[in-house]
Symmetry: C2
Subunit: 461 residues, 2 copies
């Protein structure tokens, strides 16, 4: 096996020592290193020097402890679906692959909770618990690991109803920078016992600790589920219905916006024949009567807005619809073969959503960029996804400039530069713009918990 | 005016300087000092040396900055309804009374959010927004300030439906220990922009910063609201219905348990004639059909459990019921004139709730203590409220020993020593027991953000 170039302070001796902590579960094969140095976005490759595959919290702690002593960077890796370069090993070091931390440790149907290792994916968990009548609803699209979703502060299509990761994580096991193992939170539904370390770790992107286990809130599968696709004469009309839905507090479980380019991409990629128009995908969950009442109200609003409302009540039809929505990112990439994806992620107060989308799309046209739009519009969160020619730096520059303007407008109305993708290393300057005073507090916390700066260096702060 | 004894490092000169920062809005009158040194619980009096009444974030910052330079303790004060001694000035210093930070700064009906100063009480906010069709649902019983509720990590009767403070605070303005003003979070419904400083501050009890402004999520007043009282042949039967309600995910808005002594106290205090039996108070919110469907299901369950279900659909009747429930603490105090109240606050996974309550009540009888029970049972949270003779140290000792056992049992099943009252200085040893590793992380954060230890010293960590 060929050893890669070591970062400062990482010698072959220490590499051997770290490897020895995980038996034969490690790799320095270039293909493995590369696979752990690039996520699904445009961010360039930054491979680690070593990948380890621990199976227990204690193994992670042993590796981190050793890296701490030697000042070697440690980056946690789930399945690599991050979108802001979160898993890039900017300074080399050790990638902790969580794919073998893949056990569901405890499931309590009576308490609607479970404890899983960080490498369990959301599909894996749902396949286990769905037959028991339970579900874990947070759905970022990709079949990410639950540890990765917590680290990123992920949310997604169902957050309008079930909240984001931070609302559904009850407790964590975290390996701190010096290898200490800390358990945060617990199994109680609520607690005021000291500082909320759970929520501090959720969204910290592996820079304050490595999440190895999660205690998660589960939800009963609702008695009734139904979906509808609604097309509109204009994107403004679609957004207005979304806003009204939130303002009336109608209990939709999902409400996803796709613009015409997104619908075209999905139709082509998944052999669908959705009408090419601004579209809202709805899902309704609840007891039968409540689902019907909610859908009736939406149908009326869609009609008033000049749109059409089409039911998808059959499970298969519903699954096909959401399958297509989940694959929208890959559909967009396929629409421009060879292109690199760069999904934007602003989130604004809902009364500013129509304007934010209108401005972004007008500016997009002026900028001559291809970027279909999907949006978790119930949360005020939308993604224009630039598909860029990797060999055209001018196109990248125009996308960067467009994104800058979009974020500046979002911040001006109290919005955020990232609703759910995190900061990674792609958005650090925007974090400073969004939290000019808070960034120093974040840095003080980082310094207190990781004074040697070994945890995912170069990210977030 | 008589100057009180100053803590180390606080001289009359600095006292004058601090006073000069707030015009004539300060007091050293012994009655004012005493009123700011004791909360509503049994904790003994610890008055500050000075009370100031700032009106802006900038005034708070000026006071804190000066205190930081001089090493003078600073304790934030809302209306003094804390229950774990959170506002006690254990080392004297300056009490920052937030009663003049009482302005609603911004209200957006379209976005269902608002920004308020920390001294705005929840009733004050609701009186303003209810006529607009909006409500702020978090309800700890007392008419606390929103700043105090956030600092404590409060929740209460509606948390089963609307979440706790941590779920309803979108952003904060915080004065840090050195007087810096930091804005956390924002107005977007969700964000993954850096560390979650908002949730770190919520529940930190004024030990990491002084909250001066809050951006809050608001909710539409539901189309229909209805309440019911249900009495049961045994407390076990009542708890079993509560557990089943949660496990079926029935969307109740409130579900409060009262045992016979609590009902007796409420009846006597509020001239009610509720049947003396273990009782669940329910409230249902939603569209009319959903409220009816949910209530029908509960009625069936209550019948199966041998209980009786009585509607309280009229607004007046419903208000009277909840008014009585909110005054339960004072009703209990009145049941034993001259007594001191000591409300317990454990929270357990719901499958352990019946056992936790049964064990606690059996132990209570064996201990010869008077302590009616109320519980936010949908969250697994309940309060036995010891009413103690302040002149009987043996009774206090028996209560302490009983509470120790109750918490030990709660922690053994993954529960917490405080669901919503916080740590204050009453529960610091239990915090260590609950988070033996986490406490060191909390201390590191405290050290990083308040190295001189001036913010609410002696509390939480």
């Amino acid at each position: 096996m060929v050893a890669a170039a070591y970062p400062d302070g990482m010698t072959a001796v220490w590499l051997d020592e770290i490897r020895s902590l995980v038996g034969d579960r490690w790799s320095t094969a270039p293909s493995d290193l590369d696979a752990h140095g690039q996520d699904e976005s445009w961010h360039p490759l930054h491979p680690p020097d070593l990948v380890v595959f621990p199976e227990t919290t204690e193994e992670v702690a042993a590796v981190v402890s050793r890296c701490h002593t030697e000042g070697i960077p440690v980056v946690a890796f789930g399945v690599g679906t991050s979108l802001e370069g979160g898993i890039a090993a900017l300074r080399g070091g050790v990638s902790i692959d969580t794919s073998r931390l893949n056990r569901v440790l405890r499931l309590s149907i009576a308490d609607l909770d479970c404890t899983v290792q960080a490498g369990v994916t959301r599909h894996q968990l749902n396949e286990l618990i769905n037959p028991q009548g339970l579900m874990f609803p947070v759905d970022p699209g990709a079949n990410a690991t639950l540890g990765g979703m917590a680290s990123t502060g992920a949310s997604g299509t169902t957050t309008v109803r079930y909240g984001a990761m931070r609302h559904n994580v009850l407790g964590l096991t975290v390996v701190m920078a010096d290898g200490r193992i800390v358990r945060t939170g617990g199994r109680a539904r609520k607690s005021s016992a000291g500082y909320d370390l759970t929520r501090l770790m959720v969204g910290s992107e592996g820079t304050l600790g490595i999440i190895t286990e999660l205690t998660l809130r589960l939800w009963p599968i609702p008695e009734a589920m139904a979906a509808a696709t609604c097309t509109f004469p204009s994107i403004d009309a679609a957004v207005e219905v979304a806003i009204e839905t939130i303002q009336l507090a109608l209990p939709v479980a999902r409400m996803e916006l796709l613009d015409e380019p997104a619908i075209e991409a999905v139709n082509a990629f998944d052999e669908m024949d959705l009408p090419v128009a601004p579209t809202l995908f709805f899902e309704f969950h609840g007891i039968r009567g409540a689902v019907d009442a909610c859908a009736d109200e939406i149908r009326r609003m869609v009609g008033d807005a000049g749109g059409t409302f089409t039911w998808a009540t059959e499970t298969e039809e519903r699954s096909r619809l959401w399958h297509a929505r989940h694959r929208a990112y890959w559909a967009m990439l396929a629409a421009r073969p060879g292109g690199k994806g760069w999904p934007t992620d602003v989130c604004v107060p809902i009364s500013h959503l129509a304007e934010a989308i209108r401005d972004a799309k007008e500016d997009l046209e002026a900028s001559g960029l291809y970027a279909p739009l999907v949006g978790h519009v119930g949360d005020g969160n939308f993604h224009l996804c630039y598909i860029l020619d990797p060999d055209d730096p001018d196109e990248f520059a125009r996308a960067q400039a467009h994104y800058d303007r979009m974020i500046t407008r979002a911040l001006a109305v109290g919005g955020t530069c990232t609703g759910e993708h995190g900061i990674g290393w792609g958005k650090r300057e925007f974090l400073r713009e969004e939290h000019p005073e808070g960034i120093d507090i974040m840095k003080a916390i980082k310094q207190a918990l990781d004074p040697r700066g070994i945890l995912n260096p170069g990210k977030v702060v």
